[in-house]
Assembly symmetry: D3
Amino acid sequence: MATVTLISDEGASPDVKAVFDDIRTTRGGDFINNFWRALAHDPALLRATWDRLKAVMGPGELDPLTKELIYIAVSVTNACEYCAHSHTAAARAKGMTDAQQGELLSVIGMASQTNALATALQVPVDEAFKA
Amino acid sequence: MATVTLISDEGASPDVKAVFDDIRTTRGGDFINNFWRALAHDPALLRATWDRLKAVMGPGELDPLTKELIYIAVSVTNACEYCAHSHTAAARAKGMTDAQQGELLSVIGMASQTNALATALQVPVDEAFKA
Amino acid sequence: MATVTLISDEGASPDVKAVFDDIRTTRGGDFINNFWRALAHDPALLRATWDRLKAVMGPGELDPLTKELIYIAVSVTNACEYCAHSHTAAARAKGMTDAQQGELLSVIGMASQTNALATALQVPVDEAFKA
Amino acid sequence: MATVTLISDEGASPDVKAVFDDIRTTRGGDFINNFWRALAHDPALLRATWDRLKAVMGPGELDPLTKELIYIAVSVTNACEYCAHSHTAAARAKGMTDAQQGELLSVIGMASQTNALATALQVPVDEAFKA
Amino acid sequence: MATVTLISDEGASPDVKAVFDDIRTTRGGDFINNFWRALAHDPALLRATWDRLKAVMGPGELDPLTKELIYIAVSVTNACEYCAHSHTAAARAKGMTDAQQGELLSVIGMASQTNALATALQVPVDEAFKA
Amino acid sequence: MATVTLISDEGASPDVKAVFDDIRTTRGGDFINNFWRALAHDPALLRATWDRLKAVMGPGELDPLTKELIYIAVSVTNACEYCAHSHTAAARAKGMTDAQQGELLSVIGMASQTNALATALQVPVDEAFKA
């Protein structure tokens, strides 16, 4: 039901196979989720997207679970069905508890609400907030 | 330039003043930002919004800074100008470093990009992701 | 600061002038707001947009104020700054009271919140809701 | 297919059961739609969301059907699939006619279009619109 | 699973049938996609939408395929599932190659990313960009 | 008014200066727009964003102007004020005529409208559209 067919391991070109291999090595498992199999229709876009994802979501100043929570927040606000599923699953795999998920949802709900109110009211930015 | 006038301390009704007082006590400072001064046109909405915000953003399973980062992620995705400013300022006040802000932006940018790709491709949700 | 210059009455071509005249007659006033002066760069788009707006927002099954409230709800959710201002002004001109505006904001805030929650949770549609 | 399992009546904790009971009493029926069964994973969020929804959507300055139309407008603009279904069903239950639904859609379509045009043109807000 | 039932050829009123006939003549085929069958519940909205679509997407300064690519870009950003499918199919019918689709996705992904960054950073508009 | 200060040429670190130099060489001019000066707070994000932008917007299957039109379509739908300005300016620099801009706006407006209608109606995807 994608707008392209999904690329199986058998149908993967060498360029695609190289990315699939890197995903498997990086994640330590055999599973390649459908996003990459759909993106594989354009090997250059697949490579650029995976390389950047690996760099962005890797170790840094923010811990990996925090990054996943931020990713979920953006995905939900963009109404991305696939991404809500895939990044919720990823957050669970990185240790998100039920209580943390509940708080994440509470913050997302709160922000969505006050975003709409601030926009409706066209609140002018306080001088104190300017960098 | 708001769609309502802002309520000053002098113009605040007792119900509004009670919320302003609670904001000051909770935050430990005199500053009331414009969002609350605009919302004060509807004292019941002001009260409900503030009470909920205080509950949601208070201590819990996620630390206060993580909650602010999630708040920023939602606000940016909703293109809320005021909220991008106010919650970036709030995150800084809670200790967000330049390096953390850079990673936050990187994750928001990455998620925005893959959200669009997943939606364009209409990627079907993997069985493995279903709860 | 628009991405096009605004068309003054003096700079209006006959096609543009005809639309401006119809706006003035329909609204019973001389004021032409900037939206139409910007759109006037493309007389055909100006004409199509105005004709459709006049038909949609005119008398019907829903009263004119209700239509404006719906218009505001969409505009706020789309984060359209200009539209939040112009349609709030239009709603006031059609009789929106402060109390009604407060309830409008409350509903918009509530919907924004539950929209995000339903998307985050990927709630399956109940059989009972299907047409 | 939700990102959480749905809570049945049998699986409901006392806190959840209390909210379910209130939903049934308020709505005068036995049906609990999936949104609440998903949200029930976090009893505090369930309670806060339901209490606020009941207050916001209850009797006030705007009639209940008008509130539902506004709710639909926000939900559609946020691309919330579940919410489009559930609030269209709710509006019908509150008396929305086919003709009213047609006008609602016409206003939503019109607003979506002019929102995009105003944003593309970056139309400056008229002085006359400022509160 | 639509919020309305779909109107079949047999169930079409004369007004609806006239639009269906025009769609068939214009497109040179018998197929009427579900969008029009759902919209047919409001014959006036069906007529207005089809007439405008025909005018906008017809021959002009931009070639038909370019128009479809723009349509896909908007639809994806609005997270419109149906529209992503229908306009991707339309673009293919108008000659979109796999390589063009890959570039389209790359641009959509890039724009989504920098849009989020510019909003997060609240970058002030350069004087040089003002019309 | 950005959420960060803008980095001047004098304040640029060697890593930032290298990107600024590449922007100047690639574009054949001295002007560095504010987006890059804001992004320069995170040299790694600046580098990754610029490198990707250069690759995506360069010569390919779609001509540079078509890519800019797609970029504008996404930016407008995301309500990105800065991006609407900067990419409209870029499209003009690449030869966009007034008539082409009018058609671009017409398509964006049309898509915005039918996106909302398709979502409101929750139109099921036609079998014929599936890849």
